[in-house]
Each structure stands twice: as C-alpha cells, then as structure tokens.
Amino acid sequence: MSKTTKQVDEVVIRFAGDSGDGMQLTGGRFTETTAIVGNDLSTLPDFPAEIRAPAGSLAGVSAFQIKFSSRDIHTPGDAPDILVAMNPAALKAHQKEILPGGTIICNTNAFTPKNLKLAGYETNPLEDKTLDDHYTVYSVEMSKMVALACEDLGLTPKLVDRTKNFFALGLLFWIYDRPTQPTKDWLAIKFSKKPELVEANVRAMDAGYNYGETTEIFTTRYTVDKASLPPGTYRNVVGNYALSMGLAAAAEKSKLNLFYGGYPITPASDILHTLSAWKHLGIKTFQAEDEIAGITSVLGAAFTGSLGVTATSGPGISLKGESMGLAVMAELPLVIINVQRGGPSTGLPTKTEQSDLLQAMYGRNGEAPMPVLASSTPGDCFYAAYEACRIAIKYMTPVMLLTDGYLANGSEPWQVPNIDDLESIDVKFADKSSVVDGQFMPYLRDKKTLARPWAIPGMKDLEHRIGGIEKEDVTGNVNYEPDNHHYMVKTRAKKVESIADELGKSEIFGNKNGDLLILSWGGTRGACRSAVEALRAKKKKVSHLHIRWINPLPKDLGEILIKFKNVLMPEINSGQLSKIIRAEFLVDVKGLNLVRGKPISSADIQQAANSLIG
C-alpha cells in the first residue's frame, strides 16, 4: 500500500513509561537526532524522584517531551501531538494532556491485568474503546516484536525486553523521517564492551523502523523542514552542561584555576559530574562532606586566588546562607548556582520551580546584598555562568546564578560560540599600590567598581587578615564603630547597585508602549515570548520584556513599565519578583502564578493576557 508524506511545521512528542523503561535515554536519542536533522527544538524531561518506584505504578512514570520545528521555538510545547506510552500507568498519567485528535502509541504487551490494576484501570482502555472518540490509538506489541527480533542472540528474556524503548524510538524515527545511523554509532560506543547489547538494541530499533515502513497500520509519515536559524555551527546542549562549559570558559579567559566544591543534590549534581570529568582542563572538583563544606571550601579557594564555584538546589542554598554572608563580608569572588526545584523543604526534587528568588535576594542575616542573575534557556546557561564569573571577579563579590530544573535538564540547539568572542575577564591581583606605611590595605577599594584588592597567600608583603567581623574601611581591621558599620553597609550595597551601570539598555520585544507588557525572568522566558508572538499575531498590543539581572534590576525598567497600561508577570512561584517590582517601582504588576512543578505554558499566559486586556 502507498504511504503518504505530510509536511508539518512543528511536532510535540512525549515518551512516557516506567522509570526502568529508559524514557530519558529514548528522548535523549530522539533529541540528538532531531538536532542533527536541523530542526529547532526544546525538551522537557519529567521524571520521578524515586530511582525505581514500584514497577508499573503511577509514581514510577518517567516522561520526556520534545518539541521540534522548522521555525524558531521557545518552549518544549504545551500539549503533545503524540504520546508514546510504554505501560498503562504512563497512559493514565499523561492521557489527559494529549491534544484532542492526537495520537497514542502503546506497548500492548505491557497492558496486562496486573499493570492495568496498578494504574487504576478497571478495564483495558485499549480494548474498551474509551480512547477512540478522542485519539488515534496504535496498539503495538513492542515486547513481543523485540523478543522475535532478538531470539537468536542468546540473551535472557529480561534483557531483550529492555530493548523495547529502542523499538519505540525506531518507530518514531520512521514516522518523523529521521536517520537511525547516529544512534547506531552511539550504541556502538556506549556498549563497546558488550557487543551483544549493541546488536540487540540495533535490532530492536530496526524492527521498530521497519514496522512503520512495512505494516499497513501507519500510513502517513511526517517531515519537518530544517529550521532557519542564524548561520553558524550548532550542537544540541543540555542546561547543566552548558552551564559547566560557561564556568570552564570563564576560568580559561580569566586565567584562574577553577575550583568547584559541592555536595550532590538533584537537579544540580550534573554540574559536579561534568566538571569532574574535565580534570584535563586543570579543573579541581571537591565532593565535600556537606553543603556547607561545599561552599566554605570554595570560599577558601577564592581566598587563595581560585575562581570558586559551588552549585546546589534550594535546600542546599538554605545551608549555605551563612557562608554567603561571609563571602559578602570578606568581599571574595564566588559563584553560587541555585538550580531551583519545587519546595519548601524536600518539596519536589525533580520538578521545576522559581520559588527561591526571594531567598536569593534576602536569604542571609544582616544587610547582605548579592548580585543575582538568572539564565533563560538551556543554552543561555553558558552565557549566564560566564557572566556570573565575570561580575564576581570584577567586583570582588559572591554572585548568585539562578537556573531551574527545567533549564538544567532541558535542551535546545545551541550555536557553538568562539570563546575569543566573549568579553574578556581581566584579573588584577593586588600589588604594592595597596600598601600604605608598609601595611597591605585589604579594603582600599577601586574607585570605580568599589572592588577591594585581591591579595592571595603566597604573595610577599601582602599578608593580611580578614574575617566575618565588621571591618574598618581601608585597613580591614576589626571595627565596631557605629559610623564605620553604617558606611560599610552602604558601600557593600552601592557596589552591587553599581553593576547596573554596565548592563546596558533593556531590549523590548514589540512596541515600547501598549496595552500589556509581559515580564519574565529565568526559565519562563520562552513561554512568555511564544505567548507574545501569538498575541501580536492577533493584533494585540502586547510586548515582552525579559529580565536577566534580578539584582541589580535594569536601570531603565521603571521608565519602561509606566508606558504600558497593564503589566503581567508569569512566575512559577506566588509572585516573588512581582513583589519586588511592585515595591521598587510602585507599579501594579499582575501575577500569573502557577506552582505545579512544571513550566508555565504559553497557552496559560495567553489566557491570562486575554483576561486582562480582552
């Protein structure tokens, strides 16, 4: 029979299965291949905190969503066009989010009475026709087919069954016209010591691909044209990896040694893992005994002239608070990364949230101002990390970089930068010019940046003592005088505020005035931009402004805000940045605050915008 090919602009696929079904890996391979094909893409991994929740249970469902397009896209998509459900629980957990008229592909063999019961189905949804009114359902015997494909390999049935995700991958490769060769090459490297596993997975993938090609069930293939991205060399990049590269780039450009201290915590651990694999760059990583030792070891390294970095998530930030205060007091360059996750307490460890902004701003005792910036996309994590390092060194201050679980694990095509093009980072260590009457003056500040001189152990005649007790200006000696304290409090604040001078003008997407300005920070940028694009296409007078620096805020923000009749700020929290902006500029910012552990969708934002401006 003939197969037709249909061209589409964009597709959203969600792979869902048991934690042990390899959904993240399947999604990852589909993403890499889609990147090679040249589509723009955005991904959203969504997995449970439990490593292996009971098999077949709803709690154990792990999912990976990818949106890919021939156009420039900003989000991993709202509702999927196609759901691959490897078991009943995966179907149950995700079915209601599929677009009406969407497609469901199921591994029929997993729809056993036991699994159906675990998922809470009274009858088999693949047989009782309940899905058929709304979706196109393909029931595919994936387990059976991989068993047949691998039967002469002499592997245990259990091992063979684990290749079923590659069957699903192969089938999706066929449907969306993607090559299988890159994944075959990847498998050959991944299982180089177990050739039988390479063979089994290749056979499973080919079986899936051929199933699409030869059976009469699938009649349509879809193609998505290459995206028209700016010219350049691209690669796919995941947020935490991009961030790690940004740190290493900053170390190289500043000619400082990178010292990373940290304690494993979801979803920040991949930064520790990534940097630990780059010892050949001279990077030192230290898995400390706890979160506090993570940051304090970094503080020690910064005192000794390294570029000190630590990364964690909310609970770790709580533990690091006192040490950040010391870094503010000691005025040492330090980068603290908070990969935000759902809170409070342990909260939702594997889910995303933006609820640590006020903690980043104010979560320390005393007046302890710290520059805070947030990255906006997985690829932007590179530039945000670089920027955080540059500012920390230039102004001799700890800097907090906020990312989140979605940015950390999400991915997108990324134009490969040439690090020669990045703004330089000039380190000027202290010298004799900071010595007065034979004594080094650790708080004799640079007049412009207010940064104090950085003298490090090993430098002759610059021996000095610093600490957490209030210091006398210039000499750095312990000082309890009221006026000195007042002056030092103001000076530390002024130093942070002065960073705004180099941030430049804010870039507004759309008109400079209108009915509505949508404000975003961090990972909600993409959804806000998509929403504004859609609203503007409907001739609405809506603009978008994304805020990269939370502290200090852009200098021109106040003037921008008053040019709009309404201001809407979507945040995955209860309105943390809008609270600050309301306080700073006395503007009636409306919040769209959805705290569900997942990104706010473009549709949510459009709806909120429409209800504001009609």
Binding site: K226, G261, I292, G468
Partner: protein, 339 residues
C-alpha cells in the same frame, strides 16, 4: 613556595601583627600564641606561605594576632575552608585554629572529614572544656554532670574524647599538649608542622573565667608528676613522682602498676607512635579515673594525602586526554552547520 626561594631569618616579632590581643587577662590562649610566634621562625617557611584559618570562639581570634595570611571565618567551618585553601595551593602551610565547641560540636563533621582525607593541614584544637565566648555553657568535652548556666542541674551528655575521635576518623597524627608546658607546646607545633598529612593537636587550655583549673591537676607542681604520662616514642610508659609507676597490659587491658618487687621496667608497655592499638589505648585513659593523662604524640604514621592524589589525577587525565581547552569541549559532539 619554591625551592629556589631564599629562606629568610625571622624573629618572633615578624609573626606578631599590629592588632591588640583581646583575650581575657590570664587566658591560656596567650601562652599558645606566644609559643607559636616563638617557634614559627624556626619552621623554615616563608611568612607569605603561611595561612591561619579559624572558625568562631575565643581561640578563633588567633589569626588576627599572627602576621601571616589569616581568615577568621564562621562557626565550625575552618577545616572546610582550610581544605579549599590547601587544594587551591598545595604549597602553602595551612593551620586551623579551633576549639572544643567550634571543632567538635558545630564543626564536628568538618573535623572528621578533614582527618579522613588527610590533607597536609595542621589543626590546633584549644580544649578548655567550656564555652567561653558565649559566657560559660558546657561544651562537648565538659565532664558529665557539669553545672553551668545552661545545665543548672548538671550536664547530661557524655563528653567527646577528642583524641579517640580523631583516631576513629582516621587521623595520621594525633598529639596532645598543655598551654602551660611551653617547651612541650613548641615541640608539638614543630612536630605537627613536620608531619605530612593532617596533624591533630589537642591543647589543654585553661579558661580562667568560666572553667578555671580544669587542668590544674595536670599543671600543678604537686600533682602533675602523678597525673601526666609524658609520651616518648619507643620508651616505656612510666610516670609518677618517683618514676615508679607504669602502664602494663594485663591481657588486653591496660593497668597502672608499680615498678618494684612485682614488676620491673621490662614489664612496662613501650610507646610506639606507629601503633594504632597503643594510640587508642592511650587516648582512652582520658576521663578514665585511675589513669594518668597522656601528653605528647600518641600516633604518627605516613599515608597518602588528598591534595597529592588530586594533583596526580589532574596530571594523569591531562596525559591521557592531552592538554585541552574549553573550546575543544564546546566544539565536540554532534554538530551541524546552518548556512
């Protein structure tokens, strides 16, 4: 830092900062500071290569008074900060000054992890068995039943034995000295410095305000010969006014015996700094009635150091993968070109 550097000759004055010392008059800390400043010129380390890291507490003011690099940090975290200093520059001579509260209570975790990693850092733990800076609450080394402001009916928790704790954490150098024993204090500082790996030195220090006389039986002329066991490597464990008492193993149990008719010097246990069992046995004499308090080096062995292994791994990775730049990593992986 480097071999080529000409070592300078220093005096005590070179290590004395211009800051007024602000401990209570009569505090044992003065003696420790003085002996440190006195012995440092003989260590052969350039002043700029010395770093003192402290936490919070009376003892932690120490770095302000030493004219070296110094960092007075936050409560309990000195060992972790010092680890960062040492890992950032392994050529430095790094010293941690801490107390029984700072190093064993709020910072206990960092202390044990420093010891197990065996970085070449010298820990001076001033033990006065009381909280001084917060005005007199009991500490984790206070004897059980200690009556203080926070324990009017006596403290309930059993004390930590710092040396037992250090040995249990895998310390490679464990010693004890007393603030008033100036020569011995100097000797222990010198030995700590000479040890490659983490050296743990407990210093019995008198807090004359909140716990005066805590160690008087070990320092008073009338009693100290009977209460202190001065340790000498490879020497028998003999003490007492008449030097007629010694430690003898009765099966696996140490006992105090009198040298005379029944036992001779040959029956007395020989100290061996490299013997973990002997070190444990010695450390457990503290808080144990009927036994003298051992003073000196209990334990000293050579073992691998974290910072050396870290640098070895960096060299090995660089040799294996070749010296790379971040651009190599940025460019790696599957890429495609958009024209």
């Amino acid at each position: 830092m480097s071999e080529a550097k000409v070592k300078k000759t220093y005096t005590k004055q070179d290590f004395t900062s211009d800051q007024a010392v602000r401990w209570c008059p009569g505090c044992g800390d003065y003696a420790i500071l003085a002996q440190t400043q006195k012995v440092f010129p003989d260590l052969g380390v350039d002043k700029e290569d010395l770093v003192f890291i402290s936490g919070i507490g009376c003892s932690s003011r120490f770095p302000y008074y030493m004219d070296t690099y110094g960092f007075h940090t936050i409560h309990g975290r000195a060992p972790a900060i010092a680890s960062g200093v040492k890992l950032a520059n392994p050529d430095l001579s790094v010293w941690v000054v801490t107390g029984d509260g700072d190093g064993l209570s709020i910072g206990g975790n960092h202390t044990i992890h420093l010891l197990r990693r065996n970085l070449d850092i010298n820990v001076m733990l001033f033990n006065n068995r009381i909280y001084g800076l917060t005005k007199g609450q009991y500490s984790p080394t206070s004897e059980i039943g200690k009556v203080t402001k926070s324990t009017p009916m006596g403290s309930l928790d059993r004390p930590f034995n710092p040396l037992t704790l250090a040995l249990g954490a895998g310390a490679t150098f464990v010693s004890r000295t007393i603030d008033k024993e100036t020569k011995h204090l100097q000797e222990m500082i010198t030995k700590s410095h000479a040890h490659k790996g983490t050296s743990f030195m407990e210093i019995y220090q008198n807090c004359n305000i909140f716990n005066d006389g805590a160690f008087s039986s070990l320092t008073d002329k009338e009693t100290k010969l009977d209460t202190v066991l001065w340790l000498e490597n490879k020497s028998p464990m003999i003490f007492g006014v008449e030097k007629n008492k010694g430690i003898r193993l009765d099966g696996n149990t140490p006992t105090v015996v009198e040298i005379g008719d029944k036992f001779s010097v040959d029956d007395i246990l020989l100290h061996d700094e490299s013997d973990y069992v002997i070190a444990s046995l010695l450390s457990n004499m503290t808080y144990n009635d009927g036994f003298p308090d051992p003073i000196g080096v209990l334990y000293s062995i050579e073992d691998t150091r974290y910072e050396d292994m870290m640098m070895d791994q960096i060299r090995e990775a660089t040799k294996k993968k070749g010296k790379s730049t971040i651009q190599d990593i940025i460019n790696a992986g599957d890429t495609w070109v958009v024209k």
